[in-house]
């Protein structure tokens, strides 16, 4: 059964008898945060691969008008599964995987506060995703009402198949997993910091994960309850969203977006943290404005709880000015972060290894996504842009151009620490180039497509006018992105064969994970340096020279 080991948080003499097992059973029963983190990363990347194929199918269908690559019902399942998988099964879980691997290392702890719950979260995430996709194997197919599942469309009268129910169950499982993980993160950081690692010395990435966890506590219970309400409506005679019995579809909108908007900040704050770790290393300067970055993270988290109805501006029944005002306000702390990153690079000494290339790509893409976000915060603009390809462009710029680029930056930066081998730098630069070009070719035209009147979630469009050529360009861009992603897979395989080993600190970095070996031993640290700032490894390097 489970073995247990009593461990003190600091210097641990090497235990010669403890040999780390690598067989399948040890992975299935692991409670080691590093292994769980790697499982999260690999699983979420696998869901990304599947969802990416779905998006290629979407773009192939939209390459020309009146295409017959898929029919309307298949198309509806495609965009539902694509959105659900990218949001619930890739971008957010990848961040939690990264947090799982890094947080104990960054604060000098031996593991998470609740290792078995940690592992349980991972398996719930894996199974939740499988349950969602299981819908595709049923008679009537997978859920097909969008990742937002608005009733009455998602009610039993219209969405009659099992797919919608499996979607509800799968997303519910993932919600539970997310809440449990966040509890683990906050408890671990509050309690298990190494001597001298005060809260104001923890890395920015760890701070962002705390802010993210706070958002999860506030938002995900709403999602779980709302999913239950939909299930009760569908199968137990409920009428929460049914106007014939005094319910309202707008109730779903409020409850879902009360979760849904914080969710998008769950999907970006960890990646702000990733950028905050990478830019200082490759600029050879400390992160500028540490306190400002921390305060901005919590300002964003708090404000994001008050903007949900900017997704409902066109319903006519919410206080548009209130939500417009708070949505505009969120731009301010986000801008503060941008200026902090720029100031970190200012008068630095900047090198362009692959992690830094992706970080720069993040800054450029997220700039565009952020500006269109401020535009969408204006109800008069939203009256045109809502439910159009302009919104699709906006959220892909922040999630694809932003989070996805930070994901690749994180992969290239921490891969050596996780696996003890370096990814190939040349292949990495080609990967970046293809992704940056492909991404912008895909999504820049969508701004114009939206303003010209192309709605979202359509499987065809007018043959007249500029829509066909714009859609064709976007489809070509998506194939270029596919090439970029494939190159990453090639890189992983090639590097695994080449097995070029790395030392503890291949990047001359700052935070505690770079003190220990690559990969770290099971208990993380054989020793710890003195911790007197947010850059203990840098300080130790300076002290040595």
């Amino acid at each position: 059964m489970g073995e247990s080991a009593e461990v003190s948080a600091v210097a641990v003499p090497a235990m010669p008898e403890a040999v780390e097992r690598h067989d399948l059973l040890s992975w299935l029963t692991t409670t080691d945060h590093k292994r769980i983190g790697i499982l999260y990363l690999l699983t979420s990347l696998a869901y990304f691969g599947v969802s990416g194929i779905l998006s290629l199918m979407i773009r192939t269908q939209l390459a020309r008008p009146n295409n017959t690559f898929v029919d309307a019902h298949q198309y509806a399942q495609l965009f539902t599964l694509h959105g659900t998988a990218m949001i619930f099964l890739f971008v957010a879980p990848f961040a939690f995987g990264l947090g799982n691997f890094l947080i104990p290392l960054q604060i000098g702890a031996a593991d998470m506060a609740f290792p078995r719950l940690n592992a349980t979260s991972y398996w719930l995430f894996l199974f939740g995703g499988l349950v969602v996709f299981l819908g595709a194997a049923t008679n009537e197919g997978a859920a097909a009402s969008g990742w937002t599942a608005y009733p009455p469309l998602s009610e039993i009268r219209v969405s009659t198949g099992l797919g919608q129910d499996l979607w509800i169950v799968g997303v519910f499982l993932v919600s539970v997993a997310t809440i449990v993980t966040s509890i683990n993160f906050v408890t671990t950081v509050f309690i298990f910091r190494a001597p001298g690692m005060t809260m104001w010395r923890i890395p920015i990435f760890t701070w962002e994960m705390i802010a993210t966890s706070l958002l999860v506590f506030m938002a995900f219970p709403s999602l779980a309850a709302t999913l239950l309400l939909l299930f009760v409506d569908r199968h137990m005679g409920g009428h929460a969203f049914d106007p014939a019995y005094g319910g309202s579809p707008v109730l779903w909108d409020h409850l879902f977006w009360f979760f849904g908007h914080p969710e998008v900040y769950v999907m970006i704050l960890p990646y702000f943290g990733v950028i905050s770790e990478i830019v200082p290393v490759f600029s050879r300067k400390p992160i500028f404005g540490y306190t400002g970055l921390v305060l901005a993270a919590f300002a964003i988290a708090g404000l994001s709880m008050g903007v949900w109805a900017h997704h409902m501006f066109t319903t006519g029944v919410v206080n548009n000015p209130f939500f417009a005002f708070v949505s505009f306000l969120i731009a301010v702390p986000t801008g503060v972060k941008f200026f902090n990153w720029i100031a970190t690079m200012w008068r630095g000494s900047i090198s362009f290894e692959t992690p830094m290339l992706f970080a720069i790509g993040f800054l450029l893409n997220f700039l565009i996504g952020g500006i269109t976000g401020v535009m969408l915060a204006s109800p008069p603009i939203d009256y045109q842009a809502h439910d159009s390809y302009f919104v699709v462009a906006h959220f892909h710029y922040v999630l694809g151009g932003g989070s996805l680029f930070a994901i690749f930056a994180a992969l290239f930066f921490w891969w050596p620490k996780m696996f003890g081998i370096k990814l190939d730098e040349t292949l990495g630069r080609w990967c970046f180039g293809l992704l940056f070009v492909g991404f912008n070719v895909t999504f820049l035209p969508m701004h114009f497509m939206g303003v010209m009147g192309m709605p979202r979630r359509v499987f065809t469009y007018d043959a007249g006018g500029p829509l066909p050529i714009l859609n064709l360009i976007a489809t070509c861009g998506s194939y270029i992105m596919f090439a970029g992603v494939s190159l990453f897979v090639v890189n992983a395989i090639v590097s695994a064969r080449a097995r070029i080993p790395v030392g503890n600190d291949p990047w001359n970095a700052n935070s505690l994970e770079w003190w220990t070996t690559s990969p770290p031993p099971e208990h993380n640290f054989e020793s710890l340096p003195p911790i007197r700032s947010e850059r203990p490894v840098y300080d130790a390097r300076v002290a040595r020279s």
Binding site: N118, L173, F190, A194, M199, P530
Partner: protein, 125 residues
């Protein structure tokens, strides 16, 4: 006052403020209720932390502590491997699937969750 407590106190304060601001500008019950529940939850955590902190004394909060000053302290025990996580997750998934597909699977899931839950608690002793 630890940083963590300050975080939850200010979050609770913000929650109360925005719930009130929303109610008085919008008079909309659903949003106010959600913000109110959020404010209540944050206040609850803050209150709990105030009580809990009276006993807490974290080595991590000491600015000039060294490895040596923290050495030998028993921080906690943790399991190295355990089949309970995978088992519990399978059981919970069975409950979910069972509710949708077949009540028999759901019942099996509930029994398994109870069994695994008991094992979790027993192993924590």
């Amino acid at each position: 006052m630890t940083v963590g407590l300050r975080l939850f106190l200010s979050s609770a304060g913000f929650g109360i403020a925005i719930a009130l601001a929303y109610w008085f500008t919008s008079r909309e019950i659903v949003g106010t209720f959600m913000l109110g529940v959020m404010a209540f939850g944050l206040s609850f955590v803050a209150g709990y932390m105030i009580v809990a902190e009276r006993e807490a004394d974290l080595i991590g909060d000491e600015k000039n502590a060294t490895m040596q000053s923290g050495a030998g302290e028993l921080v906690g025990t943790y399991t190295v491997t355990s089949p309970l996580p995978l088992g519990s997750a399978v059981a919970v998934t069975c409950i979910g699937l069972g509710i949708v597909v077949s009540p028999a699977i759901a019942v099996l899931g509930i029994l398994a969750v109870l069994a695994f839950g008991a094992l979790f608690v027993i192993q924590s002793r």
